[in-house]
């Protein structure tokens, strides 16, 4: 369980994290989603006490991270930036961390096997590929068998097999009842593993929701319908939980709260001819873009001034 209350981090004039509130619950994978520069990494660094908040607080299992007697048993974290001395072997790196908590050599061997690093455990970590470096970071995060696992952009630099492995690892950890908090700037990746989503942009929480709710909110289940008599169709479709939008003088209506099938059946019942009936497909990627379009820090030239 991670709880952030009015968490704020300012670097001089720039506010990286701006009064953020959220709770990450156990037993589920919570995705932490946002464009680059949204404050995800800064938030994660504050959770494990590497950065001190300018205001507000964040606790892990009810306490500040640094106040836990055995921090690696509470939270295992993989940070975005490499946190390894390149001159040390993977085994020695893990052993150095293990000694601080009196964790045994057997556990070090176990996490090395779990992350598939057996063959390179004796090699200097500086020679590792990006993917191997990520695996070593994950091995370090799992070392203390922590109740909460926090991974910053874990699939970066991994090959498809590695990506699949991460997905299974995350869902497996959550199924064991652990708190799993994973950041990403890729909505599609999150959609596959996350149960819950916290979307941030420019240091603020834009949405704290589930994947399904987010899609619905951004218009995922909208049906476009064109008919000869939009006014009458509007009347017969109306009902609780149904929203209908349409331009005056246009044949087209946009209906949410009813499926295309329902709309078609209702129209047939009332003898209204339909010219078009389409379920508007909003991908998660689009939902995410829609949500964060005003909060993206750097726009590419091909999408001019949408946010401006």
């Amino acid at each position: 369980m991670i709880e952030a209350r009015q968490l704020t981090k300012r670097y001089g004039e720039k506010t990286a994290v701006d009064g953020v509130d959220f709770t990450v619950r156990p037993g589920a994978v919570t995705g932490f989603l946002g464009p680059n520069g949204a404050g995800k990494s800064t938030t994660m660094r504050m959770i494990i006490g590497l950065d001190a908040p300018t205001a507000g607080a964040v606790t892990v299992n009810g306490r500040r991270y640094a106040r836990h007697a055995a921090p690696l048993r509470e939270v295992g974290a993989l940070l975005e930036a490499r946190s390894i001395h390149p001159g040390r072997s993977a085994f020695d790196h893990l052993m150095g961390l293990a000694y601080t908590h009196g964790i045994s050599r057997a556990r070090v061997t176990e996490v090395i096997e779990l992350t598939g690093l057996q063959s390179v455990a004796g090699k200097r970590a500086g020679a590792f590929s990006l993917g191997m470096g990520q695996r070593l970071g994950i091995a370090a995060a799992l070392l203390g068998d922590p109740q909460t696992v926090m991974l910053d952009e874990p699939v970066n630099g991994l090959d498809p097999e590695g990506v699949l492995w991460i997905r299974n690892l995350l869902t497996g950890l959550a199924a064991e009842g652990r708190t799993v908090f994973v950041s990403s700037h890729l909505m599609s990746e999150m959609a596959l593993v996350a149960d819950h989503l916290i979307v941030v942009g420019r240091g603020r929480v834009l949405a704290d929701t589930t994947v399904q709710a987010l899609v619905r909110e951004v218009g995922g289940d909208t049906v476009l319908v064109a008919s000869a008599d939009p006014a009458r169709l509007r009347g017969v479709l109306a009902g609780p939980g149904v929203q209908i939008k349409g331009q005056p003088g246009s044949e087209q209506l946009s209906v949410s709260g009813r499926s295309a099938r329902e709309v078609g059946l209702v129209a047939a019942e009332h003898g209204i001819a339909l010219f078009e009936l389409t379920t508007k497909v909003v991908s998660l990627e689009e939902a995410f873009m829609e949500l964060t379009k005003d909060a993206v820090e750097y726009h590419s030239a091909s999408t001019p001034a949408r946010a401006a």
Partner: protein, 282 residues
């Protein structure tokens, strides 16, 4: 914490018997820093160099002196006050630089590589890491200093035995001075550790260390003579050298005062390191 009551949808976590390990303790952090230091190749190389400089330059110095004595020519004025001990410790400044640089690297290396994030995630109270690094490194350098000084003096007294300058370990002050070499190098090593943590940069840490011990003494000649005579003995380098000097002149501190002054510099550096470590984001 009862997860089941807060989130009924989630099955209760089966709390396995503590698989492994326990709380972070001072001893465990010491053990970790010890293991981390020895698991880097640069540690072995630099400690080896420190020992080699101590023994090697001492040996070269005494052999050179012996050849001057036996050649019958007048002794070089630089060597006029030489003793078997002063020749044996000829390599101390070189060894001091090597060991001080490694001290800087033990902390600055963690910042430059990013390792510090792993270290502080494991020990988020932070200060135990600084104390452990200083203690572990100080003890190792102390041992290297003693071993090197004993070896260098054994060689020196062996080479000069039978001459007018012959000395042995039983001579007045020799054991204390040998011990002093170990103490001096250990304190310089700890100052290096602290400088690395204050500046978080290898280049910066080494520059300040070399500047403080090698350049500042030279700059003292720019001061008016009366100031110079008052201040110079208290510089870290001069105070440090009086810890292991066999003979003290009017212009130098006694071994005890030298030790106190260098300890003061060490504490100052450590306080600065602790302040930076606690106040700045990692």
């Amino acid at each position: 914490m009862s997860i089941a009551t807060e989130n009924p949808a989630v099955p209760t976590v089966s709390l396995r018997p503590a698989p492994d390990g326990g709380n972070v303790t001072g001893r465990r952090v010491l053990r970790s820093e010890w293991a981390k230091l020895w698991s880097l190749r640069s540690t072995w190389i630099t400690l080896g160099l420190g020992l080699l400089f101590l023994i090697g330059f001492g040996t070269i110095g005494v052999l050179r002196y012996k050849s001057m004595l036996t050649s019958g020519k007048p002794v070089d004025p630089d060597f006029a006050d030489a003793t078997a001990f002063s020749l044996a410790v000829f390599g101390v400044p070189f060894s001091m630089i090597a060991l001080g640089v490694l001290g800087v690297l033990t902390t600055s290396g963690e910042y430059s590589t990013g390792m510090i994030r792993s270290t502080l995630a494991a020990v988020p109270r932070r200060l135990p890491v600084l104390w452990s690094k200083a203690a572990v490194y100080g003890v190792i350098v102390f041992v290297i200093g003693i071993v090197g000084a004993v070896a260098a003096f054994a060689i020196s007294s062996g080479v000069l035995s039978g001459t007018a300058k012959a000395m042995s370990f039983s001579d007045d002050g020799v054991l204390r001075s040998v011990l002093g070499v170990g103490v001096y190098l250990a304190l310089v090593g700890i100052i290096g550790v602290a400088l690395g943590a204050v500046l978080r940069s290898t280049a910066g840490g080494i520059s300040v260390l070399v500047g403080a011990f090698l350049l500042v003494p030279g700059l003292m000649s720019l001061l008016p003579k009366s100031w110079r005579d008052d201040l110079t003995p208290y510089l870290p380098s001069n105070a440090g050298e009086s810890i292991f000097a066999l003979h003290h002149t009017s212009g130098t501190l006694t071994a005890g005062w030298g030790l106190l002054v260098l300890l003061g510099w060490t504490v100052l550096a450590l306080v600065g390191a602790a302040y930076r470590m606690m106040r700045s984001d990692a």
